[in-house]
Chain length 216, copies 2
DNA sequence: TAACCTATGTAACCAAGGTTACAGTATGAT
DNA sequence: ATCATACTGTAACCTTGGTTACATAGGTTA
C-alpha cells in the first residue's frame, strides 16, 4: 500500500496530464516498480516479453544486433516514454526484436501484458498514449534510418555526442571510444580518428574515459 | 449502391476473416474505392494525410528521401496491408514522412481519418488490425535497418531482386539499372557492376529493360 | 616500484562503393 | 536511313571507413 501510494505520486509527476485519475490508480495497483542501474540490461533479444515498461526517471538505450553479435544503437527513451517495440511484442505474443539497456540509473513501472487490451478498450487516454508511442517510435526508427543511410560516420558521431549530452544533461560524457564504436557499429580506431579530428576543430576535449563537449 | 456492394465483395475477399460483418459494411459505406496505375504516386512527403488506405489488390512501395532529394526504399506493402505510417500521421494530424508509389496497378479503399478513433473504440477487430499493422510496420522498419546497416550492396541487391520477384509474382522483372539504383540509394554504375557479377555467377540473365531471375 | 591492464594515438594498408568519362547498343521518331 | 534518346558495360580513379599493428599513457595492484 505504501508502495502503491508512492507509485501514484511518481505517476502523477509525469502522467497526470495524460492519464485519467482512475487509470493512474489502476496502474499503481497492477504495476510493479523497478529500478535498474546504469548499464543493466532490461530486455534481451529473443526473450518473451510479459510486461510493458513505463519510464518514470532515467533513460534507456535501444539496440539492434547483427548476426555477428555486434550492436547498433537505434534510439534513446527517456521519461514519459514507453517502448512501443515491447508493446508491439506484448500484443503479438512474440519475442523481443531489440535489446534495452539502462543508459543511466532508471526507475520504471512494469505493467502486465493482460492489461493492455483491457485498458485500450476502457480508457481513451490510454489508447491515445499507445498510439502516440507508436507514432514516436516509428518516427525515431525513420530517424535512425536517415542517420545510417544518409550520413557519414563523422556526422553520425556528432549527433551521437549531441544526443548523449541531451539525454544525460551533462557535457562531460563518461564514455570510452570503444563504447561509442559499439553503439555506432564501427571500430574503435575509426572513432578515435574522428574524435581526434573533432578535437582539433575545437568541438570537444578528449580525456581518458571521458569526452568534454564544448561546441558541437 | 452498386459501388458499395462491389466494395463489400472485394472486402470480403481478404478481410472477411478479420473484420466483423458490420465493420465491413461501415467501411463500404464511408470508404471510397481508388485505382492507381503502376508508378503513380499515392502519398507524398510533407502532404497532410486525410485518409487511410486499405489495400485490396496490387502493391505499393514506401520510400524515404534524403536532403538531396534522393530516395531509399523502405518496404513494400501488398494486399491486406495498410500503411501504419499513414495511420500514424492521421492520428497525429501530422504530415507524411514517406512517399508511397504504386509498384503495380493497385486497388485500394480510402477511409476518412475521422473513422479511425471511432472504430478503434467500437470494434475489437479493428483495434487488433491497427495494432497488427503497427507491429508489421515496425518489424519491416527493423528489417530495413538491418539491411542498410549490416549488409553490403551485393547482398542488398540480391534481396531487392528476390523481394521484387515475390511481390510481382514473376521472374522477369521489368526494371532498369537506374531504377534499382534509386531504390537502393546508390548509383547506376554500382548496380550495373553488381548485376553483371550476378549474371556471371548464373543467378540472373540481363536484358535491356528487364532482368530474368534464374536462381537467387 | 614493478607488473599489468585498459584506453588512446597513429601509421600503413585494404576493400567497398561512389564518381567521371566514354563507348557501344537497342529502340523509336523523323 | 538518319538521328536522338535511353540503357548498358567498363575502365580509371577517389573517398570513406574497416583492419592490423604497435607505441605510449594513465591507473591499479602485488
Amino acid at each position: 500500500m505504501i508502495e502503491s501510494s508512492r507509485m501514484i505520486e511518481s505517476l502523477n509527476e509525469f502522467y497526470s496530464g495524460i492519464f485519467e485519475k482512475e487509470l493512474i490508480e489502476e496502474i499503481a495497483q497492477v504495476g510493479t516498480l523497478k529500478r535498474v542501474r546504469e548499464g543493466e540490461k532490461i530486455i534481451e533479444i529473443g526473450e518473451y516479453v510479459k510486461s510493458m515498461p513505463l519510464l518514470l526517471e532515467g533513460a534507456i538505450k535501444i539496440l539492434r544486433e547483427d548476426k555477428e553479435g555486434d550492436e547498433l544503437l537505434l534510439y534513446f527513451l527517456s521519461r514519459g516514454d514507453t517502448c512501443a517495440m515491447t508493446l508491439s511484442c506484448c500484443l503479438g505474443q512474440s519475442k523481443s526484436e531489440i535489446r534495452a539497456i539502462a543508459e543511466m540509473d532508471t526507475k520504471l513501472i512494469m505493467i502486465p501484458v493482460e492489461k493492455m487490451e483491457e485498458w485500450t478498450a476502457k480508457y481513451k487516454s490510454w489508447r491515445n498514449f499507445i498510439f502516440e508511442s507508436y507514432h514516436s517510435r516509428l518516427t525515431e526508427m525513420l530517424d535512425a534510418i536517415d542517420t545510417i543511410a544518409f550520413l557519414n560516420m563523422d556526422e553520425r558521431l556528432m549527433r551521437y555526442l549531441q544526443e548523449k549530452v541531451k539525454i544525460n544533461q551533462v557535457d562531460l560524457l563518461q564514455v570510452t571510444h570503444q563504447e561509442i564504436a559499439y553503439d555506432l557499429h564501427t571500430s574503435r580506431v575509426v572513432i578515435s580518428r574522428l574524435l581526434k579530428k573533432l578535437e582539433r576543430e575545437g568541438m570537444i576535449k578528449l580525456q581518458r574515459n571521458s569526452i568534454k563537449v564544448i561546441n558541437l
